[in-house]
């Protein structure tokens, strides 16, 4: 039988470790390009200040990078340790992009990151810039392949179930790579990373400007961040991955849940700005709606409808019944009765096998499910609407706030008035957490919105676990929480320390705190004379 506490704990552990890892990755993705921009200016102009900028922001990047690398290992391990049936069931497809990520991207990024920090004196300027550039490229490729893998979980195309091996097998590699969900996800996620990098540099530069320290250094950093950040936030918002919700049935479910779209409306659907979704009643209380907006955003058209939850549930009920058929023939085939007739029957129904498996939660034999059990499974196909509805709105809200901050920063920076706009500098400083809130809620929408599936319409999450005791997972989860909390404290402390110290931490003798010291020692020697 399904051990619900094992399933819940496995999910919690994965969610905690993935969300934690994802605190550090976006900053890495964004900062690498900012470093490339700064170092390029240094190589082109030969001005020392840009080299100092590359080195100082590189220091902060390094503090973040180390913890990103460290916590990334966890997910790779967990696929095997905690999701063993998942590994078996989809490894043939899902493992490939992960391995390619290692070979094509992670190797490049990691091999070069050490060079970035330690080879300044051993390489020519151009060689070092090439190192920084390829490090950035590797980081972005890394995101690409991880998102190809993730997109396949959302929209599993290019693969088919093989009853002989009892798993999904790859049919078309190109379909998997060019999965439309992967395309939009990639653009959306890396741009969000660029925004995180920009907001980080922008906020910390604002701090120096507010304190009146290292003005030349801070202004230049601010300029780079404002320009790169504005371009990136426009990218995130205009190419938001909502357009990806049109493809694949589960993406439609997610869209309907995010929007609390209970009934299919006449196109173009209205967008519910805010309200209080009530899942049992299939109704949103106190809804404030903007006419046409949802249809426009989601379908990019005036005539296509956005399918509502009620209609999706009806369709899922049909699929579950077909899935029961698929399961019936699968059992016969696995028992060795491989008559051509059984194979033909199975092939007829097998695309719905996943829906049949949903019933395993209620009856181990699936085929004997009662109407009530089928209805319970139908209910499971819609993830809880309320948390998705609000997370999505928090994400969008943060995005809008960042758009305002970045636009104004860009504008006043271009007019060379930025040091006078102290309110804006303060907004930029206190706005540093915004990209993280947006990114974490965005992750939640994408992955929680996929439930009850590990692989959409293929493998229910509750079936994907390992055969462990719930207590095993509880022990490691507590271990992760303790360890990760300590890491976070250390990381934050180092980050704050170095961010406060600013470029003086490079010990070049050219920046604020060291000049202060020089002044003091100058005074001392004057006195001595």
């Amino acid at each position: 039988m399904i051990d619900d506490s094992l399933v819940d704990l496995s999910r919690w552990q994965f969610a905690i470790t993935a969300l934690y890892h994802f605190l550090f990755v976006p900053l890495t993705i964004g900062m690498t390009w900012i470093l490339v921009i700064m170092e390029s200016v240094y190589v082109m102009t030969g001005r020392q200040i840009y080299k100092d900028m590359t080195k100082f922001w590189g220091k902060l990047f390094g503090i973040n990078f180390a913890i990103g690398v460290t916590t990334g290992l966890t997910m790779e391990f967990e696929f095997g340790t905690n999701w063993a049936y998942y590994s078996h069931y989809v490894g043939d497809v899902f493992g490939a992009p992960l391995a390619i990520e290692g070979l094509m991207a992670f190797f490049m990024e990691s091999t070069l990151v050490g060079m970035f920090f330690l080879s300044w004196d051993r390489l020519t300027k151009r060689q070092h810039l090439a190192v920084t550039f390829f490090m950035a490229l590797g980081t972005n490729f890394s995101a690409l392949w991880i998102l190809v893998a993730n997109a396949w979980m959302q929209n599993p195309i290019g693969a088919e179930f093989n009853y002989q091996t009892m798993r999904m097998e790859m049919q078309s590699f190109t379909e998997i790579v060019f999965n439309p969900v992967a395309q939009v996800k990639f653009i959306h996620t890396v741009s969000a990373g660029y925004v995180a990098g920009s907001m980080f540099v922008l906020g910390i530069s604002s701090y120096y400007l507010l304190k009146g320290r290292d003005i030349a250094f801070a202004k230049r950093s601010f300029s780079v961040a404002a320009a790169f950040g504005l371009a990136s936030i426009l990218c995130v918002i205009l190419l938001g991955d909502e357009s990806g919700y049109e493809v694949g049935d589960i993406q439609k479910v997610k869209l309907a849940a995010i929007e609390a779209e209970w009934e299919t409306e006449e196109a173009p659907a209205a967008f519910t700005l805010i309200g209080l979704p009530d899942q049992d009643a299939h109704h949103t209380d106190y809804a404030i709606k903007i006419p046409y907006a949802l249809g426009l955003i989601a379908t990019r058209s005036l005539d296509k409808t956005v399918t509502g939850i009620v209609d999706l549930e009806k369709a899922h009920e049909e699929k579950i019944k077909l899935g029961m058929k698929a399961y019936e023939y699968l059992v016969k085939l696995r028992a060795g009765d491989e008559s051509p007739e059984n194979i033909a029957q199975f092939d007829r129904y097998k695309e719905h096998l996943g829906y049949g498996l949903l019933l395993k939660r209620y009856t181990p034999n699936v085929v004997d499910a009662t109407d009530a059990q089928i209805q319970a499974a139908v209910k499971d196909t819609i993830p809880p609407v309320m948390p998705l509805f609000f997370s999505f709105r928090v994400m969008v809200g943060c995005g809008v706030l960042m758009l305002i901050i970045l636009s104004l920063s860009f504008y006043y920076n271009a007019k060379r008035q930025i040091t006078e706009k102290r309110w804006l500098l303060r907004a930029a400083l206190y706005g540093i957490p915004l990209p993280w809130i947006a990114i974490e809620t965005g992750w939640f929408v994408a992955e929680f919105g996929r439930q009850p599936w590990a692989i959409s319409e293929v493998l229910p999450t509750f079936m994907a676990t390992s055969s462990l005791n719930a207590s095993d997972v509880l022990i490691t989860m507590v271990g992760f929480i303790i360890f990760y909390t300590i890491l976070a404290v250390i990381e934050f402390w180092l980050m704050f320390k170095f961010a406060r110290l600013g470029p003086s931490s490079l010990h070049t003798g050219r920046y604020h705190f060291e000049k202060e010291q020089q002044k003091l020692s100058g005074l001392h020697s004057d006195l001595a004379n």
Binding site: G80, G91, L112, E169, M170, L494
Partner: protein
Amino acid sequence: MFDYETLKLIWWLIIGVLLICFAITDGMDMGVGALLPFVAKTDQERRVVINTVGAHWDGNQVWFITAGAALFAAWPPVYGTAFSSFYFAMMLVLFALFLRPLAFDYRSKIESDKWRNNWDWAIFVGSSVPPLVFGVAFGNLFLGAPFSFDEFLKVTYTGSFFELFHPFALLCGVVSVAMIVFHGAVWINLRADHIIAQRTPKIINISVVVLVLAFVLGGVYLTQIDGYMLTQIADKNAAPDLLNKTVERATGAWLNNYTLMPLTMLLPLSAIALALGSALLVKVKRPGYALLASSLMLMAIIATAGVSLFPFILPSSSFMDHSLTIWDAVSSEKTLNIMLLVVSFFLPLIISYTTWCYVKMWRRVTVQEISENEHSAY
């Protein structure tokens, strides 16, 4: 291009190559980390030792990550079975692996003895626990693990964490730690300031003796424990069927491959010769060649383990017919083909730019260099 059976064999070799590269590169870092408290006395000396691998540890670690991902892609049932069966052992490795990247990056950022000492211990633990667990895990591949599959191929493990500590497995742990320490010591001898390098010959001599003795003892031990034999399997070119084969057990059967193919005897013999040769090269002050020899030695040791187990990857001690072999615990032909193309393209590329990095950073790291770059070195 290749038929399915050949592809399966090629993938066994590729996984082997990835593991060997991991042992040679990241194994070196781990050896260096495990020796950190013993070869370096002052903070500056420790920084010298760390900086011999400073620019490379991160790239080196990716051999491990890529070997894991390749295992996932090519042998999914092995990935799920081994990782979930050895749950706490894998978690132990994971937590130990957490420590190194942070320690390398953070230790020298703060000028405090307490801070740096703590991180140095983190490096030590993070470098010595993984090779120990990997060795014990490898030993358990020979012993088999009690697992079985249900009709939908969901795996269940019925053993416990403490079962993993069979004397033979512990012996494999000793081999693993000794070879990593040896390799790391040779690297320090080659790349660290003379004042530190001169302390390594003693470590090299001790570790080579331990290594050779444990390795030989392991071979003798194998004659006494049960080995597994694949006596019947369905068509190797058809869709792999994990449950449809016959496996038998017999004392000393792990050595059968050496009688079937006597040439393979060269592997364990060359492992011993290379270990001794490498130690000798250190003695006659040819540390570069010594490192080459110790790298080849790692290759020979891992290949010895692989050949002895062939065609098994992880035998089941409770349901022998459910054992995982390279013929039936693999991905589909299509996936293996595509991934072979990917590997053939990227592996040479990776080796080229990694070599470029090593060449550019090649030098003996001195105490003087560290004091000149106090604020930028690790």
